[in-house]
Symmetry: C2
Subunit: 207 residues, 2 copies
Amino acid sequence: MDIDYSVYLVTDQFDYSQEEFLKIIEEAIIGGTTIVQLREKKSSTRDFYNLALKVKQITDKYDVPLIINDRLDIAQAVDSAGVHLGQDDMPCKVAREILGEDKIIGISAENYADAKQGELDGANYLGIGAIVATSTKTDCSVISREDLELVKENINIPRVAIGGVKEHNTRELINDYSFDGVAIVSAIMLADNPNTASENFSKLVKE
Amino acid sequence: MDIDYSVYLVTDQFDYSQEEFLKIIEEAIIGGTTIVQLREKKSSTRDFYNLALKVKQITDKYDVPLIINDRLDIAQAVDSAGVHLGQDDMPCKVAREILGEDKIIGISAENYADAKQGELDGANYLGIGAIVATSTKTDCSVISREDLELVKENINIPRVAIGGVKEHNTRELINDYSFDGVAIVSAIMLADNPNTASENFSKLVKE
């Protein structure tokens, strides 16, 4: 699996209509988003499934991997590239047994211990954060700079920075902590122009 | 699959501690509950998974099938006997593709059309109701007597009555509408003695 994690869009419906929401995802991909995580914490299974089918049509069109947050059943139902699991979601090893070796499993890590455990459990990549305090995911604590250093020195799987990543701190994260990419929620989903925002992140990561 | 649907317990944690909750399930099985559906609408995936593992230890001990409400991923993770799917959950045919032929799939039907569709889609059994208005599941409308007659005449898979089933109306449901069993939430979970309550339902269904 050769995945480009550089601009990793994590969706949030905010107050958008479904049409607007899907349009933003497509614009973001055109602008340079390389991977999309669909995150729906309040939908019924049926609504999540139907939305995932629609998002998958877009990601397939541009050959960008779709990752489903939390729900292995939705991932299987739409044949997504993989899942992203928080520490309150399915344990990584159980997910691997269900999904098999061909699916991507990402794990959220708030500290170095979580990150190391995720690597040991066979995760394909890690979402590391929150980098700074953020309003879109209030249950995440901010990772210490010491732990970011430990992750940089001791973790050998791809990792994306998540939580409070903006254009102004992206270069620092890539340069100082060797992240493979940045995971973005509001800085793309709420951008005046999601296409341009993605393009800017893409340049900042790849420069 | 030769399943005894006669006393079908649908769990609800109400205000119980986990210890009390598990004790009630075990007492209910000892009293005559023949099948258990674990229904958790508010838990995180991790909590649901951990609870399902504990409930499965009990159902396995007494060789009673465990059904997981809504979540195919939890069902796969704990290797439950099957899933129960509402009309807002995964479509039956998609669930069958994921779970295969060996797992039980039950479908909720609020009317005859839902019931017929469930049978056509390959459900193993149907949960039909609400029979009368109920406080434990407020999103369910009451099925008409005409539809109960249509279900009785035209549906050929097992079906359980759900929603407002109590000891006083169980005989009528079995005699008049040929249900294979009754699905019970509060009349067992909130009973002074879940063991005796299950025993009473078992007698009423099997008499």
